[in-house]
Symmetry: C4
Subunit: 206 residues, 4 copies
């Protein structure tokens, strides 16, 4: 029996496999957001007037749908940007990524919660807490992968590492602010996420 | 620290990644259309007669299912045809594509709505409005990518650009007509989409 | 403006794209079969005894789940075997494949229907009709692609074409038999599908 | 007509195709776990107090969600590690993999069951039985593929085969222990799965 290095036994999954699972999970989480909309139960004798009213009440659901779709898209783009530079994987990176997916998969639920109870602080805070933890996972994943250029190319520029680390903090910081505001004004708190595109645009230009 | 061009920091996602997410979203949106059919609640004492009646009422649901499946397939084919020529991506293209997906993901909901309330103008118009916006997103995406051959190969034929731009307008124009008709005859309005294959076939032959 | 052949304008989607969408749809249809199982509503005061009884009633649901999973797996394998030989695609092939997916996506619904109403001929016949049409789509797809070796390699053996055509007919023929039997004995009719693996094994050995 | 070897007619699906379907199924099963959380029905007059209480009752659901996500991730990693070494496929391997997916797809249902009825032995045992069978499928798949190096590279080290076989047994053995414990203490039984990461870490270091 050949002698086998411990390293060889600890097989690492290729980053392309991790990305395939991640793409699948994001595609499904985005599509499941639609379950946030419920078709009103068709009953005999319900008139056009009533359907108009019911559809009008779906308006906040639509805004929350757009918001969560936007945040999911930003996370997905971040993940791809990070894996553009990450060339190797190890067990910790894999589990950091799985942890991020665990909270990404919760987003359809917390979106649904905040759509139905948008005026209650607890619902807003659960939603924002979800985004905080998912966002932090991406921040930690990047920190871990770039520490001493552990899993990225050795010639990756310092500025790339810094810029990406900073932009990874945008969602967590907005989430902290949103939680603080939501204690008193949940609807204002959850609206803060619409600032993210402007902040990212500003960071990019800076 | 090396000087890094702003361009290098603005990493663009490869078009293959965008296509992978898009394929996933379309596969799920198509499959979720089936949630449009609800199995009648099995209760004690419900006879075969009643099941027959219930299944008969699902007939319009089936037609709407086929219609939305057809439209989704046409959008998917269009997206792939476009990305066959698009060789580069930038931030605006990415967000135009995400916007198209945002409205594609709504289709299972608006299909369900029009299936249950097919005789009400408002339901038909919401469905057709959904198709209008999704279709426009593909038109704008193509306009943006081909303007001065921004993101397509420089040797793409003018006629390809024109033909594809024109065929991108079929769904939006049909949607406008459908909305106008649906104000008075919602069932006729939503049926107009079945004309699309014939129009596309005609455009191709022309 | 360059002269462009009509052929070049009629861009054909690569078979790999078609396969990617197909894989996605099958993965989701398989997973959605689980919606066939409903967790009984937890109510105060409901005892262990009652949960046992409810779970026992899920037994036929499990059998139907296994049956539909098996049929979906057979369709998926057939699709891949066919696309192993199909080297080109055209518009008709694309739409034949989309038609097959349209009926594949219905399977979670018709499975749910037959699970809840297994003793009613109409439910069994709807399920079997679904399988009949989906199966026929794969038969027609193969017929179309291999006619005069239209879309397959020119050196594909005649026997491959014949063997695959014959095996494509197994599910449609079983479905016809199942429909006939289900008029009187729906539970027997839907069980016939469990014969498919044995028939395929027999055809292979023959 | 050319003579065709029986082998050529028995076309084997490439392992990459099998992996694509598997990745899709896992991504969806993980995401469907979120259906485990139900947004309480928003009714007029329901106060913040009541929403707090309802969310508090979701706490065990969250733990079960994390648990099932963890187990699915472990199965997915195992599947990829195995297919890293498996170079060929045959009909039996294909069906062993499909069998594993059949039980993977059930996990969202059994998770939902144990979340709602966590204090009832039968619910815990159904959940653990699901994990037992799914885990065994991966064990058998590896046994089958490595027997006489049937489907793996001929120069795969004996130790790799042994180490992977042993680690494949962790989930089934934990499941057996969990079933035994659950007869009396269902909540303790289902908690045993949280030991798996520590056991795998220990096996790796050993």
């Amino acid at each position: 029996m050949a002698i086998l290095s411990a390293k060889k036994l600890r097989l690492e999954l290729s980053t392309s496999r991790i990305e395939a699972l991640t793409d699948g999970v994001f595609a499904i989480a985005m599509t499941l957001l639609v379950l946030n909309f419920e078709v009103p139960n068709p009953m005999e004798g319900r008139g056009a007037m009533e359907l108009h009213r019911t559809l009008a009440t779906l308006w906040p659901n639509f805004l929350h749908y757009v918001e969560s779709f936007l945040i999911l898209a930003i996370f997905w783009i971040k993940n791809h940007q990070q894996f553009h530079f990450i060339k190797h994987s190890d067990s910790k990176l894999l589990w950091l990524n799985i942890t991020s997916l665990l909270f990404v998969c919760l987003i359809p639920f917390t979106t649904s919660l905040v759509s139905d109870y948008g005026n209650m602080p607890i619902a807003a805070i659960v939603f924002e807490g979800n985004m905080l933890v998912a966002g932090l996972a991406y921040y930690l994943l990047w920190r871990y992968a770039t520490k001493d250029r552990r899993l990225v190319d050795s010639n990756v520029d310092d500025r790339v590492i810094t810029v990406y680390r900073r932009s990874s903090l945008v969602t967590p910081l907005i989430s902290l602010a949103a939680i603080a505001v939501s204690i008193f004004h949940p609807r204002v708190g959850t609206s803060l996420y619409f600032l993210i595109p402007f902040i990212l645009l500003y960071l990019r230009r800076a």
